[in-house]
């Protein structure tokens, strides 16, 4: 029922699917870095500005900045793990 050409086309489509999956994980990771960098850069910029405005509060501002950065990095790392988990079986399928 399935001749050789159809089988070859199906395998080709599967390989394209795997490649697109890896591409999707890669784009997701790039967007993730952009979002996290924007967020933490925002916090850092505001922290530096407020220290420039009032240097006596530098210790407390530093503590708040570190806490906010750790909270943002929390879900950033969560998304990194999910994206890597999605990509690694696909990479194994290609190189395996």
């Amino acid at each position: 029922m399935f001749d050789i050409l159809t089988l070859a086309a199906m395998e080709g489509m599967a390989a394209v699917g795997v490649g697109l999956g890896i591409l999707g994980a890669g784009i997701g990771l790039g967007l993730l870095c952009a979002g996290a960098g924007r967020g933490i850069g925002n916090i850092g910029g505001n922290a530096v500005q407020s220290v420039a405005r009032q240097p006596e509060a530098a210790g407390q501002i530093f503590v708040q900045m570190i806490i906010s950065a750790a909270l943002i990095e929390g879900f950033t790392f969560f998304a990194i793990i999910i994206a890597s988990g999605m990509a690694s079986p696909l990479i194994d399928a290609i190189t395996g």
């Binding site: 806490i67 750790a70 909270l71 990095e73 929390g74 879900f75 790392f77 969560f78 793990i81």
Partner: protein, 316 residues
């Protein structure tokens, strides 16, 4: 730093895999006891022994004020950590409830801290270097295993609900219901909205605890994956990678030590915040200064402790 040399001294022919550095391995021939279980036992026993040692150096009955000073540098270090956690982190949020629940807060902090720090020791690589290959997977960060951080987050979730119910009783659940019942004709409109928000609050409890779990797990796994990849760079690209690998791994290990302390502090801090959301009762919630008087700052109690009024402050 030592990890670079020790891990690179392994089998030169096998292509090393950075994932094997963060995955659990069964030890001693048993199928369920992994190196993460072992490190959690080491963190538990080591932490309990260390804190018992510190507590033994704190005098409880002394005749003079100077007699109450903690003896020894390591004890004073851990006392400073504990006092910081209690006075700067817990007391502004929990107020009078601090002393009831500080034991759980200290336990959570030190367990996560020792779990993170012991993960930085290359115990298995050391055994592999001296030839005992049976113990070559002994070390590892137990907080880099999602089962262990899920357990810690479940205990935090239990504390959030338990402390809320114990302090406020039914008020803990009533606090989650947003709409009033009083204007009765509006009830058919308010009831579905209120039900949705109530379910959202309940799910929010689960999500807060889940975020605690995943934040700690993902930070530790990401750090150890990057560290392992940097070290393996010396094996996969030896012509150019050796110097960069050792220096990069050494520098990154400093960042990992900072992240170990930070993540332990963040876990404990968020647990305290979530406990205080349910436990600090409604009439205190309006001022929300956590039991401090007006005009007081969170660091004032430490200021009072450090200032010796009319004493021998210069007698070091």
């Amino acid at each position: 730093m030592m990890t670079s040399l020790l891990l690179a001294a392994g089998d030169p022919n096998a292509a090393p895999d950075p994932m094997s550095h963060v995955l659990p391995h069964a030890l001693f021939g048993m199928d369920w006891f992994t190196n993460h279980h072992f490190m959690s036992l080491v963190a538990l026993v080591g932490g309990v022994l260390l804190l018992m040692f510190v507590a033994a150096k704190m005098p409880l009955n002394a005749s003079t004020a100077e007699g109450y000073v903690t003896k020894g540098r390591i004890s004073q270090l851990f006392e400073a950590l504990c006092v910081f956690l209690r006075e700067e982190m817990a007391r502004p949020l929990l107020g009078d409830l601090t002393d009831k629940y500080i034991k759980y807060i200290w336990s959570a902090f030190f367990f996560v801290l020792f779990g993170n720090l012991l993960g930085m020791l290359p115990i298995g690589a050391f055994f592999k270097l001296i030839g005992m290959d049976g113990l070559s997977h002994l070390g590892g960060a137990m907080t880099g295993n999602i089962n262990f951080t899920a357990g810690l987050a479940l205990i935090s979730l239990f504390m959030m609900v338990f402390v809320g119910l114990k302090e406020n009783g039914f008020g803990f659940i009533k606090h989650m219901w947003p709409v009033p019942f009083k204007p009765l004709p509006l009830l058919p409109i308010m009831l579905p909205v209120g039900l949705l928000v109530f379910i959202l609050e309940l799910v929010g409890l689960i999500i807060k605890s889940f975020a605690l779990c995943v934040r700690l797990f993902a930070n530790m796994v990401a750090g150890h994956l990057v560290l392992a990849s940097l070290i393996i760079l010396a094996i996969t690209a030896p012509a150019v990678g050796k110097g960069a690998s050792v220096l990069g791994a050494a520098a990154f290990s400093f960042l990992e030590l900072f992240v170990a302390f930070l993540q332990a502090y963040i876990f404990t801090f968020l647990t305290v915040i979530f406990i205080s959301l349910g436990a600090v009762s409604h009439d205190e919630h309006d001022d929300h200064n956590g039991g401090l008087d007006e005009g007081a700052n969170p660091g004032d109690s430490i200021d009072e402790m450090l200032t010796v009024t009319g004493g021998t402050a210069g007698g070091h």
